[in-house]
Symmetry: C2
Subunit: 410 residues, 2 copies
């Protein structure tokens, strides 16, 4: 038996996914393991016990990331970093993040059990607070300053206080960043969160890169008058402008050639009473594409239409670009590794962009990064109904294991 | 000098409107004197002191309404009831309700000061909790049961507990209703809350009646997927259906002949995150007209379009009629009185429907009711910017005074 014959214990892995889901489980079946919550702290404790059980030397870095080390046998080789996150959105599912984290631990467990002597040091990582903005991986690549840490969040608590709560050391946040060149590769397994693999019957997605995101905050103002006493022709109704904008975003994004997406996901009507004409609507327009240059003409078309609609409905508008994240690409060498390994395992694969942001996207700043997707049934994500079949869980973990072995021999 | 020459003290009345606005005044100039709040209790105390000062015998009825009696000189004559409310919406203005309440007290004050001997008993009334659903006047006309009183509200507190807090006696709620035939007339002065009188330069509005209201709750369901990973052609976006519905309501209501209005005032997007496709939208459709039969074909057209839109966007819908209030008319005799008095005072007047609900609407169930409007500058209402000019305040109060005198002599 060679290392090519090594396989993860799929039953153990699927069982552990179910066990982790018990931390933060809601009566309706959803999982709320929001970063820094009591459930998150308990889930982290559970994960650390599994890491110790896999023979790893566990520590928490200044940014609150959990790292479990398996030392390498050859001096001077760069670290192979493998992992994901275990925090969830409120009322989320059991697979997003959890799959990749537990599979990474399973890879280490399998190597330890087999007595495999890795040449490179192997670090299994569980990133802190992925869902609210990639906090842990941003800290790891040096994007978080002590200022960022000490600014109070929406809940009035600073990130520093939260990170401290889970064993991080925000005063030493700059020490979270590894020495340049010290990491050989980062690999992450994740559920697709989209419906492409499942609907096309493909086993493995090889992530080409992460789409860029432009997020605009739009404010539309009308006059909040009495809905009974104000005749139809004397209204300044902010919701009429907003409704036409929602439809315009959908129409413009769909009618432009390409794979971009555009969404109005948040829309708040003020004052929001049945008997008051909407005086203000606050909404978000989010655009995503691998190629950010394609988003510019789309936003120009949307904002031009917004001005016209606002005049038509006697309202006023303002907007600002709230967030702009460039698209990033994964390492071609690692993509080739994943493709080869998948083929060797008898699995079908395809290259695809990731519409969602992931920690791997941040890791591209400090090392070669590769990412593996497995199918999400129906593409359902961030939902209690999120599901990935046990055989796809096993496939993904074995692709991850064999990719780690192949990189270790490079 | 005869009673026809009596006039209110307009300076005192305008000063008192400003004084009452201090109870619940917000830094931005708005007034939050929400029923049963500390500010409301203080405002009620202030109003009761003015009533006592006007020589009235003050009591609080079981429904929490404040009544101030000036006894009549002729046995067996029905009560003339005059008043309004002093509670406000959150962040409302200084005139809605306050004007009619303080003008009614001013009428009594003027009569007392002049030594006028009224034939009918005169009751000045301040209705309890108008804004959240005409609580006090509903109790007065017998529409509130002890069951209604003991059901917990949205804040977990029963109406009974709240009414008790302001001196009412919910266990005796049925005693709030007057003996049949014991009330000769109800008169109320109020700001228009619309822009018709102000924009057309008319001094006095004579309310023909109160429009009926149909309020539907609509729920649209899609699938709340990840906004980055779900291609545009695989979405089930509840907000697309909702946006087209908002526009359809506006279009159908406007294109049907008549004075009806239709509004989507509340619209809540779930889960409401910038990066999640809207999985559910809850919204209200409110239709109003004097003639309820005209609303039926309008709702039929809207609901048919809703079904079509829902199918088009791959969403599902459900709706229910949440509230249906019939339109009611005021007393023709009292309308004639108000018209005549206005003319005698040299004021222009017009008959008009009231788009808003008022306590007077409930009073039509137990007596003849009449209602007087004065202009709202710009039609602004339920807003810190609500304003009625001091001369219009004086005009309205004098029309009220002379109408009371005319009814007293009937």
């Amino acid at each position: 038996m060679t290392e090519y014959d090594l396989r993860v214990n799929a039953d153990r892995l699927n069982r552990r996914i179910a066990e982790l889901a018990e931390f933060g489980q809601l009566p309706g079946g959803g999982v709320s393991r929001v970063a820094f919550s009591e459930a998150d702290v308990e889930g982290r404790r559970y994960a650390m016990s599994l890491m110790q059980n896999a023979g790893l030397n566990v520590r928490v870095d200044p940014a609150g990331n959990i790292l479990g080390r398996r030392e390498g046998g050859v001096a001077g080789e760069g670290v192979i970093l493998v992992g994901s996150h275990i925090d969830t959105v409120p009322d989320g599912g059991a697979y997003d993040g959890a799959l990749g984290s537990l599979a990474a631990i399973e890879v280490a467990h399998t190597l330890t059990h087999a007595g495999y002597r890795n040449r490179h040091p192997l670090d299994i990582v569980i990133w802190c607070d992925e869902e609210s903005g990639l906090t842990g991986s941003r800290g790891f690549v040096g994007e978080l300053s002590t200022d960022d840490m000490s600014r109070p969040g929406k809940d009035g608590t600073t990130l520093a206080e939260k990170v401290r709560r889970i064993g991080g050391d925000p005063a030493r946040i700059h020490e979270a960043k590894p020495e340049p060149g010290s990491i050989a590769a980062y690999l992450e397994l994740h559920v697709e969160q989209g419906s492409i693999l499942h609907s096309e019957g493909i086993d493995v997605g090889i992530v080409q890169g992460f789409v860029g995101v432009q997020h605009y905050d739009v404010v539309i103002k009308g006059v909040p008058n009495h809905a009974g006493t104000t005749p139809m022709d004397r209204r300044s109704n902010a919701l009429l402008t907003a409704s036409e904008l929602v439809l315009a975003v959908d129409r413009i994004v769909k009618s432009t050639p390409g794979r971009q997406v555009g969404t109005v996901g948040r829309l708040i009507v003020r004052p929001g009473a049945a008997n008051v004409i909407p005086g203000q609507v606050d909404l978000t327009v989010e655009l995503r594409d691998m190629d950010m240059t394609s988003l510019q003409p789309i936003w120009e078309a949307i904002s031009k239409e917004l001005e016209d609609l606002s005049a038509k409905h006697d309202t006023t508008v303002s907007y600002e670009l709230r967030q702009s994240l460039e698209g990033t690409v994964t390492d071609p060498g690692l993509r080739a590794v994943i493709a080869e390994v998948s083929k060797d395992l008898g699995l079908s694969s395809t290259e695809m962009p990731s519409g969602a942001g992931h920690d791997a996207q941040k890791l591209t700043k400090v090392c070669s990064a590769g990412m593996i997707f497995v199918p999400s049934v129906g593409g359902v994500s961030h939902s209690p109904d999120e599901f990935t079949r046990p055989e796809d869980v096993a496939n993904g973990a074995n692709v991850l294991l064999q990719s780690v072995l192949k990189v270790d021999m490079m």
